[in-house]
Amino acid sequence: MQNALKDFEKFDPQHLPLFEPLAQGHRACQGCGEVLALRLAAKALGREMIVVSATGCMEIISSAYPQTAWRVPWLHVAFENSAAVAGGVDAALHIMKEKGKIARDDIPILVVAGDGGTADIGLQALSGALERGHNFIYLCLDNEAYMNTGIQRSSSTPYGAMTTTSPPGKLSIGENHFKKDLPAIAVAHKIPYVATVSPAFYLDLMNKVRKASLIKGPAYIHAFSPCPTGWRHAGRYAVKMARLAVQTRVFPLYEVIDGKYILNRKTPKPKPVAEYLKLQKRFAHLTDGDIEIIQEHVNKEYERILKLSEEVDLETKFTSTFQQHIDRLKQQMDEAYQKMREEIVHH
């Protein structure tokens, strides 16, 4: 386990920080789940951080000149390079601190990008930056399509979803690939921290962002980000969607710390995926058979994560059983020694 997390102090739900790094007056859609996830993540880091943003909804809605919704230093360069830009910020802070040009380099860098900017066009820059071990928190806000340009499919669009470039038709179900597994790609880089978060589980989200900031090296956080406009559900349901996705196992919440999986929220009695799909018009065209395919895929993926985290459980179990065994042996030896001493004294 990471030393940095040894005495990890969770957020106190009664005393959440009041400071909002992201200010009121941003131009996100009514009921935007993505900006909620971003708000909570930023809140977890507070006043002292630097934000590097990729092009996307969150960049557009927070920085239209001459207003900014950012109360912390914020930089946007382009769509596909936010990880590389953040790497430069990270390197600059460290070397300038070393050379005595600035006082501090312990400032968390939050990289914000959407699923398109991460899974598609920004994947190379992300991979490079993760491999180089830059100290930043990469927050992928996954709303499962290119919402900023008008709901075109990305490689993170789920199977069966209707988007403006994956329309269902006589020959198509809509999006006909299962979504790219970005957390697994991040894990494959052997970075110290990977996590999935959902704004519905806000304490879990904030705690994970805080953990990511404490760990040295790259952290990748994949945030489920309901988009009422693109998913075509009522704005009021954004948090409900984020919760249902977890309850139906569509989006399991887990952490991968130093390569070890921990399924944070087990759902032994999941709700059927249909309950999640039926609230969104992007899935309205799906037949029961289609939904069955999705259900199977969801089950399989959940089982995979569960198995990976159980391996860790088994290891923990083994370690503790082994420890108990040793303790017992020690006790027996102590007793035997005591007995011997007594016998010697007796003689």
Binding site: A64, P73, V77
Partner: protein
């Protein structure tokens, strides 16, 4: 005192970067830029240069990384060539728009396709509008000096723009030649400290790179252009001071035996040296031929150029880039544009040569001068002339 050393020009360039107190270098290998960044990585590895050397996974990330570092207030450097520069393309505009003081060496090389690792100017000529200050070099000494000059210029608080030093790939980067190298204390006073007012700083949180709404985009562009145009004064002042301190003087437009010349060759980069020998030949034969070279390419030194060619009858403008479908190479186009509204301007003929590493010889320049004289009376053979082209 500076020492005259036999040195490969790329190594001289990296030594200049070392002496400029750079903080962050990010680079991706591409021929013929490699020797510059290899040597820099070695200097960092040996503790001879206190900087972060970041081996990025593409040129796109190289420029992105130095932008991030520059936005955080670091002095930054990168180098590239050809496809690498083209891959940086979209980000280059953003670097100038963000007004970040980055120094980049472009080891000029042809752009694909077909793929060519050899020297011409097609890489940089595809980046004419990026808002960076751009200079060219003709010798190793000039390349070495240009690095100090570039760091001096971009660190000027009135400039706040990135700058490209063009060094012809192989034909200059890989040549071993004598270069006077500075002792650290010699150059120290010439280089100001790198200080950046607008940067990512938690004490003064600012928003960098906001959305340029229609109400501000035009003004934003105008602001960068004005900064670029005004940078010429700083560029020239820095050259002047360099000349006063070190005895090597540079100017936006430089002339060679051009004063009374009827025919002027117009060049830039390393081939200018060869052109000088051609000029000497004509002069020996009693012909009034001269040479004018662009050292500063962006901002375009209009006034200096107009003045330099004022008395000539014929200009033979050399491009080392073919601008497909245009009326001539880009240098020639701009020269024509610079002269068009002047009364009694010289006749201008465009020549393209030295593409993709094709050697540029003294004979080529002699051929060009003779053709230009012929065109002046008989008219040109086309919009421009491709020298050395094999027909069959």
């Amino acid at each position: 005192m500076s020492t005259r050393m036999p040195i490969e020009v790329s190594i001289a360039v990296s030594k200049a970067v070392q002496q400029a107190d750079v903080d962050v270098i990010a680079a991706y290998p591409i021929t013929p830029q490699t020797h510059i960044v290899e040597n820099l990585s070695g200097l960092v590895a040996n503790g001879e240069l206190e900087a972060a050397f970041i081996n990025v996974e593409s040129e796109h990330s190289a420029i992105s990384t130095v932008i991030g570092a520059a936005a955080a207030g670091a002095s930054t450097f990168t180098a590239t060539s050809s496809q690498g520069l083209a891959l940086m393309h979209e980000i280059l505009f953003i670097a100038s728009s963000l007004r970040l003081p980055i120094v980049m060496v472009v080891a000029n090389r042809a752009l694909s396709g077909p793929i060519s690792i050899w020297n011409d100017h097609s890489d940089i000529m595809a980046e004419r509008d990026i808002g960076w200050i751009q200079v060219f070099c003709e010798t190793g000494q000039e390349a070495y000096d240009a690095i100090f000059h570039a760091f001096r210029v971009v660190r000027d608080p009135t400039v706040q723009l990135p700058m490209i030093v063009n060094v012809d790939g192989f034909n200059l980067t890989h040549v071993i030649e004598p270069v006077f190298l500075f002792e650290p204390e010699e150059i120290k006073d010439y280089l100001p400290e790198h200080r950046q007012a607008l940067r990512l700083d938690i004490e003064h949180p600012i928003t960098m790179g906001p959305v340029g709404v229609p109400e501000v985009y035009t003004e934003a562009k105008k602001q960068v252009e004005e900064a670029l145009l005004n940078s010429k004064q700083v560029v020239m002042a820095a050259w002047q001071e360099f000349g006063q301190r070190f005895g090597r003087s540079y100017a936006p437009v430089e002339a060679y035996r051009a004063d009374d010349a009827e025919v002027l060759l117009v060049t830039m980069g390393v081939i200018s040296r060869t052109a000088m020998t051609a000029v000497d030949r004509f002069r020996e034969a009693g012909k009034a031929v001269g040479l004018v070279r662009f050292r500063l390419w962006r901002p375009f030194p209009r006034a200096e150029f107009q003045e330099a060619v004022r008395h000539a009858r014929i200009l033979a403008v050399i491009d080392r880039h073919i601008s497909l479908g245009a009326l001539s190479g880009p240098v020639c186009l701009e020269v024509r544009a610079a002269l068009f509204n002047l009364p009694d301007h010289p006749q201008v003929f465009g020549f393209v040569l030295g593409l993709g590493g094709r050697d540029v010889t003294v004979d080529d320049f002699c051929d060009i001068v003779e053709r230009a004289e012929r065109y002046a009376t008989a008219g040109p053979e086309g919009d421009y002339t491709l020298i050395g082209l094999r027909e069959v």
